[in-house]
Amino acid sequence: MSTASAGLAKKIGYTNIRVYLDGEPAWSKANLPTYSTNEFIKNGNVVLIDIRPSKKAIAGRIKGAYSVPYDTLENTLDDVPRNAPLVLYGDKEVMDAVVAVRDQEFNFVSLVEGGYQGWVKSGGEIEKGPIFNTEIKWVRKLGKGEVSVADFRKAVAGEEKNTVVVDARTKEEVAELGIFKNTINIPLDEIPSRMNELPKDKKIYVHCSTGARADMAYSELVKHGFDVKFLLLNIKDAECDCEIIKP
Protein backbone atom coordinates (compact mmCIF):
# COMPACT_ATOMS: atom_id res chain seq x y z
CA MET A 1 0.00 0.00 0.00
CA SER A 2 2.73 2.44 0.99
CA THR A 3 4.70 1.85 -2.21
CA ALA A 4 1.60 2.35 -4.35
CA SER A 5 0.91 5.64 -2.56
CA ALA A 6 4.53 6.72 -2.92
CA GLY A 7 4.39 6.04 -6.66
CA LEU A 8 1.23 8.08 -6.94
CA ALA A 9 2.74 11.00 -5.02
CA LYS A 10 5.76 10.88 -7.32
CA LYS A 11 3.48 11.08 -10.32
CA ILE A 12 1.65 14.10 -8.91
CA GLY A 13 4.99 15.90 -8.62
CA TYR A 14 6.25 15.47 -5.07
CA THR A 15 10.02 15.53 -5.02
CA ASN A 16 11.06 14.16 -1.65
CA ILE A 17 9.39 10.82 -1.03
CA ARG A 18 10.42 7.98 1.20
CA VAL A 19 8.76 4.77 2.27
CA TYR A 20 8.94 3.24 5.71
CA LEU A 21 8.71 -0.32 4.38
CA ASP A 22 8.98 -1.98 7.78
CA GLY A 23 5.83 -0.12 8.73
CA GLU A 24 3.69 -0.05 11.84
CA PRO A 25 4.61 -3.57 13.04
CA ALA A 26 8.33 -2.68 13.17
CA TRP A 27 7.58 0.59 14.96
CA SER A 28 5.57 -1.24 17.63
CA LYS A 29 8.21 -3.93 17.92
CA ALA A 30 10.84 -1.28 18.63
CA ASN A 31 8.65 -0.32 21.60
CA LEU A 32 7.86 3.07 20.20
CA PRO A 33 4.45 4.56 20.93
CA THR A 34 1.45 4.22 18.63
CA TYR A 35 -1.90 5.91 19.15
CA SER A 36 -5.57 5.13 18.73
CA THR A 37 -7.96 7.81 17.51
CA ASN A 38 -10.36 9.25 20.09
CA GLU A 39 -13.27 8.00 18.02
CA PHE A 40 -11.96 4.43 18.19
CA ILE A 41 -11.39 4.72 21.95
CA LYS A 42 -14.93 5.98 22.45
CA ASN A 43 -16.82 3.63 20.11
CA GLY A 44 -14.49 0.76 19.26
CA ASN A 45 -14.59 -2.68 20.88
CA VAL A 46 -11.55 -1.90 23.04
CA VAL A 47 -10.21 -2.47 26.54
CA LEU A 48 -9.28 0.98 27.81
CA ILE A 49 -6.93 0.91 30.78
CA ASP A 50 -5.95 3.71 33.15
CA ILE A 51 -2.63 2.59 34.61
CA ARG A 52 -2.22 5.55 36.99
CA PRO A 53 -2.55 5.03 40.76
CA SER A 54 -6.22 4.45 41.62
CA LYS A 55 -6.35 7.77 43.53
CA LYS A 56 -5.91 9.59 40.24
CA ALA A 57 -8.44 7.43 38.42
CA ILE A 58 -11.03 8.16 41.09
CA ALA A 59 -10.35 11.89 40.74
CA GLY A 60 -11.06 11.66 37.02
CA ARG A 61 -10.70 9.09 34.23
CA ILE A 62 -11.70 8.56 30.63
CA LYS A 63 -15.28 7.33 30.42
CA GLY A 64 -15.36 3.55 30.20
CA ALA A 65 -11.77 3.03 31.37
CA TYR A 66 -10.77 0.23 33.72
CA SER A 67 -8.51 1.33 36.53
CA VAL A 68 -5.53 -1.03 36.59
CA PRO A 69 -2.56 0.59 38.34
CA TYR A 70 0.74 -0.29 36.72
CA ASP A 71 1.94 -2.58 39.53
CA THR A 72 -1.20 -4.75 39.27
CA LEU A 73 -1.27 -4.86 35.47
CA GLU A 74 0.24 -8.31 35.02
CA ASN A 75 -2.28 -10.30 37.08
CA THR A 76 -5.35 -8.39 36.03
CA LEU A 77 -4.97 -9.11 32.33
CA ASP A 78 -4.52 -12.87 32.65
CA ASP A 79 -8.01 -13.73 31.45
CA VAL A 80 -8.31 -11.11 28.73
CA PRO A 81 -8.18 -12.58 25.21
CA ARG A 82 -4.91 -11.73 23.48
CA ASN A 83 -6.63 -10.39 20.38
CA ALA A 84 -8.45 -7.71 22.37
CA PRO A 85 -7.20 -4.26 21.37
CA LEU A 86 -5.76 -2.63 24.50
CA VAL A 87 -5.56 1.13 24.78
CA LEU A 88 -3.49 2.39 27.70
CA TYR A 89 -2.95 5.76 29.26
CA GLY A 90 -0.98 6.94 32.25
CA ASP A 91 1.94 9.08 33.21
CA LYS A 92 5.65 8.48 32.68
CA GLU A 93 5.45 4.72 33.21
CA VAL A 94 3.02 4.21 30.33
CA MET A 95 5.65 3.05 27.81
CA ASP A 96 6.90 0.50 30.35
CA ALA A 97 3.33 -0.73 30.64
CA VAL A 98 3.08 -1.01 26.85
CA VAL A 99 6.25 -3.11 26.78
CA ALA A 100 4.92 -5.27 29.61
CA VAL A 101 1.61 -6.06 27.91
CA ARG A 102 3.27 -6.62 24.54
CA ASP A 103 5.49 -9.13 26.35
CA GLN A 104 2.32 -10.81 27.55
CA GLU A 105 1.54 -11.33 23.87
CA PHE A 106 -1.22 -8.83 23.42
CA ASN A 107 -1.28 -8.23 19.68
CA PHE A 108 -2.93 -4.83 19.59
CA VAL A 109 -1.61 -2.27 22.05
CA SER A 110 -1.75 1.48 21.66
CA LEU A 111 -1.98 4.70 23.65
CA VAL A 112 -4.29 7.64 24.16
CA GLU A 113 -2.56 10.61 22.55
CA GLY A 114 -1.46 13.03 25.27
CA GLY A 115 -2.71 10.69 28.01
CA TYR A 116 -5.55 11.78 30.31
CA GLN A 117 -4.72 15.48 29.87
CA GLY A 118 -4.72 15.11 26.11
CA TRP A 119 -8.13 13.42 26.23
CA VAL A 120 -9.59 16.18 28.44
CA LYS A 121 -8.09 18.87 26.20
CA SER A 122 -9.63 17.33 23.09
CA GLY A 123 -13.06 17.44 24.75
CA GLY A 124 -13.41 13.70 25.44
CA GLU A 125 -15.92 12.46 28.02
CA ILE A 126 -14.69 11.67 31.52
CA GLU A 127 -16.11 10.20 34.71
CA LYS A 128 -15.24 10.59 38.40
CA GLY A 129 -15.74 8.81 41.70
CA PRO A 130 -15.54 5.23 42.90
CA ILE A 131 -14.83 2.50 40.38
CA PHE A 132 -17.19 -0.46 40.22
CA ASN A 133 -16.16 -2.24 37.04
CA THR A 134 -13.05 -4.08 38.17
CA GLU A 135 -13.29 -7.29 36.17
CA ILE A 136 -12.26 -6.75 32.57
CA LYS A 137 -14.81 -8.07 30.11
CA TRP A 138 -14.18 -8.23 26.41
CA VAL A 139 -16.08 -10.24 23.83
CA ARG A 140 -14.94 -10.48 20.26
CA LYS A 141 -17.51 -9.11 17.83
CA LEU A 142 -18.56 -11.36 14.98
CA GLY A 143 -16.58 -10.64 11.84
CA LYS A 144 -17.94 -10.37 8.33
CA GLY A 145 -19.79 -13.54 7.37
CA GLU A 146 -19.57 -15.18 10.78
CA VAL A 147 -22.49 -17.03 12.32
CA SER A 148 -22.91 -16.86 16.09
CA VAL A 149 -22.38 -20.08 18.00
CA ALA A 150 -25.97 -19.86 19.28
CA ASP A 151 -27.45 -19.69 15.77
CA PHE A 152 -25.20 -22.47 14.58
CA ARG A 153 -26.23 -24.68 17.49
CA LYS A 154 -29.90 -24.14 16.66
CA ALA A 155 -29.29 -25.08 13.03
CA VAL A 156 -27.55 -28.38 13.81
CA ALA A 157 -30.25 -29.16 16.38
CA GLY A 158 -32.73 -28.95 13.50
CA GLU A 159 -34.48 -25.89 14.89
CA GLU A 160 -33.82 -23.75 11.83
CA LYS A 161 -35.71 -25.38 9.00
CA ASN A 162 -34.55 -22.87 6.44
CA THR A 163 -30.88 -23.56 6.99
CA VAL A 164 -28.44 -26.08 5.55
CA VAL A 165 -25.26 -26.84 7.50
CA VAL A 166 -22.17 -27.84 5.55
CA ASP A 167 -19.19 -29.58 7.12
CA ALA A 168 -16.13 -28.63 5.04
CA ARG A 169 -13.77 -31.16 6.62
CA THR A 170 -12.33 -34.11 4.71
CA LYS A 171 -14.17 -37.42 4.49
CA GLU A 172 -11.39 -38.96 6.58
CA GLU A 173 -11.93 -36.51 9.43
CA VAL A 174 -15.66 -37.12 9.39
CA ALA A 175 -15.13 -40.89 9.35
CA GLU A 176 -12.82 -40.63 12.34
CA LEU A 177 -14.54 -38.02 14.48
CA GLY A 178 -18.19 -38.08 13.45
CA ILE A 179 -20.44 -35.35 12.16
CA PHE A 180 -22.98 -32.93 13.65
CA LYS A 181 -26.67 -33.70 13.19
CA ASN A 182 -28.53 -32.11 10.27
CA THR A 183 -25.26 -31.57 8.45
CA ILE A 184 -23.92 -32.53 5.04
CA ASN A 185 -20.24 -33.14 4.38
CA ILE A 186 -18.71 -31.32 1.41
CA PRO A 187 -14.93 -31.09 1.80
CA LEU A 188 -13.54 -27.63 1.01
CA ASP A 189 -11.79 -28.75 -2.17
CA GLU A 190 -15.04 -30.21 -3.51
CA ILE A 191 -17.07 -27.05 -2.88
CA PRO A 192 -16.49 -25.55 -6.37
CA SER A 193 -17.65 -28.70 -8.16
CA ARG A 194 -20.47 -29.59 -5.77
CA MET A 195 -22.08 -26.25 -4.96
CA ASN A 196 -24.98 -27.12 -7.25
CA GLU A 197 -26.09 -29.50 -4.48
CA LEU A 198 -26.76 -26.46 -2.28
CA PRO A 199 -29.97 -24.41 -2.34
CA LYS A 200 -29.90 -20.69 -3.12
CA ASP A 201 -33.16 -20.00 -1.31
CA LYS A 202 -31.94 -21.21 2.09
CA LYS A 203 -29.30 -20.04 4.53
CA ILE A 204 -26.09 -22.03 4.56
CA TYR A 205 -23.78 -22.34 7.56
CA VAL A 206 -20.32 -23.80 6.96
CA HIS A 207 -18.05 -25.21 9.62
CA CYS A 208 -14.82 -27.19 9.69
CA SER A 209 -12.49 -27.99 12.61
CA THR A 210 -11.25 -24.49 13.49
CA GLY A 211 -12.93 -22.12 11.05
CA ALA A 212 -10.11 -21.66 8.54
CA ARG A 213 -11.54 -23.87 5.82
CA ALA A 214 -15.08 -22.74 6.63
CA ASP A 215 -13.94 -19.16 5.98
CA MET A 216 -12.52 -20.17 2.59
CA ALA A 217 -15.67 -22.10 1.68
CA TYR A 218 -17.71 -19.06 2.74
CA SER A 219 -15.79 -16.80 0.35
CA GLU A 220 -16.26 -19.23 -2.49
CA LEU A 221 -20.00 -19.61 -1.89
CA VAL A 222 -20.69 -15.92 -1.31
CA LYS A 223 -19.05 -15.20 -4.66
CA HIS A 224 -21.56 -17.50 -6.31
CA GLY A 225 -24.54 -15.80 -4.75
CA PHE A 226 -25.30 -18.07 -1.82
CA ASP A 227 -26.73 -16.76 1.46
CA VAL A 228 -23.93 -18.16 3.56
CA LYS A 229 -22.21 -17.72 6.93
CA PHE A 230 -19.36 -19.59 8.56
CA LEU A 231 -18.51 -20.72 12.08
CA LEU A 232 -15.20 -19.41 13.41
CA LEU A 233 -14.70 -21.77 16.31
CA ASN A 234 -12.69 -24.82 17.19
CA ILE A 235 -15.48 -27.38 17.24
CA LYS A 236 -13.77 -29.14 20.14
CA ASP A 237 -14.45 -26.00 22.18
CA ALA A 238 -16.95 -26.67 24.96
CA GLU A 239 -18.83 -23.57 23.83
CA CYS A 240 -20.07 -25.40 20.75
CA ASP A 241 -21.90 -28.10 22.68
CA CYS A 242 -23.55 -29.59 19.59
CA GLU A 243 -24.63 -33.18 19.32
CA ILE A 244 -22.37 -35.41 17.23
CA ILE A 245 -23.35 -38.52 15.31
CA LYS A 246 -20.45 -40.78 16.17
CA PRO A 247 -19.03 -42.98 13.44
Binding site: N16, I17, L32, P187
Partner: protein, 190 residues
Protein backbone atom coordinates in the same frame (compact mmCIF):
# COMPACT_ATOMS: atom_id res chain seq x y z
CA UNK B 1 -2.04 -23.13 -23.37
CA UNK B 2 -1.92 -21.02 -26.50
CA UNK B 3 0.95 -18.91 -27.73
CA UNK B 4 -0.64 -15.60 -26.86
CA UNK B 5 -0.87 -16.52 -23.19
CA UNK B 6 2.74 -17.64 -23.11
CA UNK B 7 3.82 -14.33 -24.54
CA UNK B 8 1.79 -12.60 -21.91
CA UNK B 9 3.46 -14.18 -18.91
CA UNK B 10 6.66 -12.07 -18.95
CA UNK B 11 4.50 -8.96 -19.26
CA UNK B 12 2.43 -9.99 -16.26
CA UNK B 13 5.58 -10.65 -14.29
CA UNK B 14 7.01 -7.25 -15.14
CA UNK B 15 3.84 -5.38 -14.35
CA UNK B 16 3.44 -7.34 -11.15
CA UNK B 17 6.86 -6.14 -10.01
CA UNK B 18 5.95 -2.56 -10.76
CA UNK B 19 2.67 -2.87 -8.95
CA UNK B 20 4.11 -4.55 -5.87
CA UNK B 21 3.14 -3.21 -2.48
CA UNK B 22 2.93 -4.34 1.08
CA UNK B 23 0.08 -6.74 1.74
CA UNK B 24 -1.68 -5.18 -1.12
CA UNK B 25 -4.71 -6.72 -2.67
CA UNK B 26 -4.27 -5.78 -6.21
CA UNK B 27 -5.24 -7.51 -9.37
CA UNK B 28 -2.66 -8.30 -11.98
CA UNK B 29 -2.18 -4.94 -13.59
CA UNK B 30 -2.55 -5.47 -17.27
CA UNK B 31 -4.44 -2.31 -18.03
CA UNK B 32 -1.52 -0.80 -19.95
CA UNK B 33 -2.02 -2.82 -23.10
CA UNK B 34 -5.54 -3.44 -24.35
CA UNK B 35 -4.54 -6.57 -26.23
CA UNK B 36 -3.04 -8.08 -23.10
CA UNK B 37 -6.12 -7.26 -21.07
CA UNK B 38 -8.33 -9.05 -23.53
CA UNK B 39 -6.21 -12.16 -23.51
CA UNK B 40 -6.15 -12.28 -19.73
CA UNK B 41 -9.89 -12.04 -19.52
CA UNK B 42 -10.23 -15.00 -21.84
CA UNK B 43 -8.02 -17.27 -19.78
CA UNK B 44 -6.41 -15.78 -16.71
CA UNK B 45 -3.45 -17.74 -15.46
CA UNK B 46 -2.21 -15.52 -12.66
CA UNK B 47 -3.93 -14.48 -9.46
CA UNK B 48 -2.41 -11.66 -7.51
CA UNK B 49 -3.52 -10.48 -4.13
CA UNK B 50 -3.63 -11.30 -0.48
CA UNK B 51 -3.81 -14.92 0.59
CA UNK B 52 -6.89 -15.26 2.75
CA UNK B 53 -6.65 -18.90 3.68
CA UNK B 54 -4.50 -22.00 3.31
CA UNK B 55 -5.67 -25.51 4.02
CA UNK B 56 -3.18 -28.34 4.01
CA UNK B 57 -5.94 -30.88 4.45
CA UNK B 58 -7.99 -29.70 1.50
CA UNK B 59 -4.82 -28.77 -0.41
CA UNK B 60 -6.43 -25.46 -1.26
CA UNK B 61 -5.52 -21.79 -1.08
CA UNK B 62 -7.87 -18.86 -1.28
CA UNK B 63 -6.62 -15.54 -2.52
CA UNK B 64 -8.41 -12.18 -2.63
CA UNK B 65 -8.06 -10.75 -6.12
CA UNK B 66 -9.12 -7.20 -6.88
CA UNK B 67 -9.50 -4.12 -4.77
CA UNK B 68 -11.55 -3.28 -1.72
CA UNK B 69 -15.22 -4.17 -1.97
CA UNK B 70 -14.74 -5.56 -5.44
CA UNK B 71 -12.15 -8.06 -4.26
CA UNK B 72 -13.10 -11.61 -5.11
CA UNK B 73 -11.89 -14.67 -3.31
CA UNK B 74 -10.52 -17.30 -5.65
CA UNK B 75 -9.99 -20.90 -4.63
CA UNK B 76 -6.96 -22.65 -6.08
CA UNK B 77 -5.80 -26.17 -5.41
CA UNK B 78 -2.21 -27.23 -5.06
CA UNK B 79 -0.37 -30.54 -5.23
CA UNK B 80 3.08 -31.95 -4.58
CA UNK B 81 4.41 -30.35 -7.74
CA UNK B 82 3.32 -26.83 -6.84
CA UNK B 83 6.33 -24.62 -6.16
CA UNK B 84 6.49 -22.35 -3.12
CA UNK B 85 3.56 -23.80 -1.16
CA UNK B 86 5.50 -23.33 2.08
CA UNK B 87 5.54 -19.59 1.41
CA UNK B 88 1.77 -19.38 1.25
CA UNK B 89 0.47 -18.01 4.52
CA UNK B 90 -2.67 -16.18 5.42
CA UNK B 91 -2.25 -12.41 5.17
CA UNK B 92 0.69 -12.26 2.79
CA UNK B 93 0.65 -10.71 -0.65
CA UNK B 94 1.35 -13.30 -3.29
CA UNK B 95 1.16 -14.18 -6.91
CA UNK B 96 -0.22 -17.56 -7.84
CA UNK B 97 0.42 -18.92 -11.31
CA UNK B 98 -2.05 -21.63 -12.09
CA UNK B 99 -3.43 -23.83 -14.83
CA UNK B 100 -6.88 -25.21 -15.42
CA UNK B 101 -7.29 -28.95 -15.12
CA UNK B 102 -10.81 -29.60 -16.23
CA UNK B 103 -12.86 -27.11 -14.25
CA UNK B 104 -10.40 -26.80 -11.39
CA UNK B 105 -7.58 -24.32 -11.00
CA UNK B 106 -4.29 -25.81 -9.86
CA UNK B 107 -1.43 -23.63 -8.67
CA UNK B 108 1.85 -24.38 -10.36
CA UNK B 109 3.91 -21.67 -8.67
CA UNK B 110 3.30 -19.49 -5.62
CA UNK B 111 5.51 -16.43 -5.25
CA UNK B 112 5.74 -13.78 -2.57
CA UNK B 113 5.12 -10.29 -3.75
CA UNK B 114 7.84 -8.20 -2.24
CA UNK B 115 7.43 -4.48 -1.96
CA UNK B 116 9.33 -2.65 -4.68
CA UNK B 117 10.09 1.02 -4.34
CA UNK B 118 9.09 3.24 -7.25
CA UNK B 119 11.99 4.94 -9.06
CA UNK B 120 13.33 7.96 -7.20
CA UNK B 121 11.82 6.86 -3.88
CA UNK B 122 14.06 5.72 -1.04
CA UNK B 123 13.48 3.62 2.04
CA UNK B 124 13.60 4.95 5.59
CA UNK B 125 14.29 2.75 8.61
CA UNK B 126 12.85 2.89 12.12
CA UNK B 127 15.82 4.63 13.78
CA UNK B 128 15.93 7.50 11.32
CA UNK B 129 12.18 7.97 11.25
CA UNK B 130 12.08 7.97 15.04
CA UNK B 131 14.83 10.59 15.13
CA UNK B 132 13.06 12.82 12.61
CA UNK B 133 9.67 12.61 14.33
CA UNK B 134 11.09 13.21 17.81
CA UNK B 135 13.03 16.24 16.50
CA UNK B 136 9.82 17.46 14.92
CA UNK B 137 11.68 17.77 11.63
CA UNK B 138 9.53 19.05 8.75
CA UNK B 139 7.89 15.89 7.50
CA UNK B 140 4.48 14.71 6.35
CA UNK B 141 3.87 11.18 7.57
CA UNK B 142 1.18 9.16 5.80
CA UNK B 143 -0.50 5.95 6.96
CA UNK B 144 -1.65 4.21 3.76
CA UNK B 145 -3.57 1.40 5.47
CA UNK B 146 -7.36 1.12 5.63
CA UNK B 147 -8.88 3.55 8.13
CA UNK B 148 -9.80 0.83 10.66
CA UNK B 149 -6.13 -0.02 11.09
CA UNK B 150 -5.17 3.63 11.50
CA UNK B 151 -7.90 4.15 14.09
CA UNK B 152 -6.62 1.26 16.18
CA UNK B 153 -2.93 2.11 16.07
CA UNK B 154 -0.92 4.68 14.15
CA UNK B 155 2.47 6.34 14.42
CA UNK B 156 2.74 9.72 16.17
CA UNK B 157 1.66 12.54 13.88
CA UNK B 158 0.61 10.27 11.01
CA UNK B 159 -2.13 11.35 8.60
CA UNK B 160 -4.68 8.75 7.56
CA UNK B 161 -4.72 8.56 3.76
CA UNK B 162 -5.75 5.07 2.60
CA UNK B 163 -4.66 4.27 -0.95
CA UNK B 164 -8.16 4.65 -2.49
CA UNK B 165 -8.50 8.11 -0.92
CA UNK B 166 -5.17 9.24 -2.36
CA UNK B 167 -6.16 7.87 -5.76
CA UNK B 168 -9.36 9.86 -5.62
CA UNK B 169 -8.23 13.15 -4.09
CA UNK B 170 -4.60 13.17 -5.21
CA UNK B 171 -2.73 16.34 -4.20
CA UNK B 172 -5.76 17.70 -2.29
CA UNK B 173 -4.96 15.42 0.66
CA UNK B 174 -1.20 16.03 0.53
CA UNK B 175 0.75 19.17 1.52
CA UNK B 176 0.75 22.16 -0.85
CA UNK B 177 4.52 22.32 -0.75
CA UNK B 178 5.63 19.58 -3.14
CA UNK B 179 9.20 19.68 -1.82
CA UNK B 180 8.22 18.82 1.76
CA UNK B 181 9.52 15.37 2.69
CA UNK B 182 6.75 12.76 2.55
CA UNK B 183 7.02 9.41 4.31
CA UNK B 184 4.52 6.64 3.55
CA UNK B 185 4.05 3.52 5.63
CA UNK B 186 1.65 0.60 5.92
CA UNK B 187 1.55 -2.80 7.59
CA UNK B 188 5.03 -3.96 6.68
CA UNK B 189 6.58 -5.66 3.66
CA UNK B 190 5.09 -9.09 3.17
Amino acid sequence: MNKKILQLIPLCLMLALLAGGCAETKQAEVGGTPAAKEAVQQEPTVYEGEITGVSERAKSISIAVGKGDQAKSMLVKFDDKTKGVNQAKKGIAAKIIYEMRGTEAYATDIQLKLAKLPAGVTEIKTTELQKLTSEKAPLFLVDSRPLARYNQSHLPGAHAIPVPLLEEKQAAVLPKNKDLPLVFYCGGPT
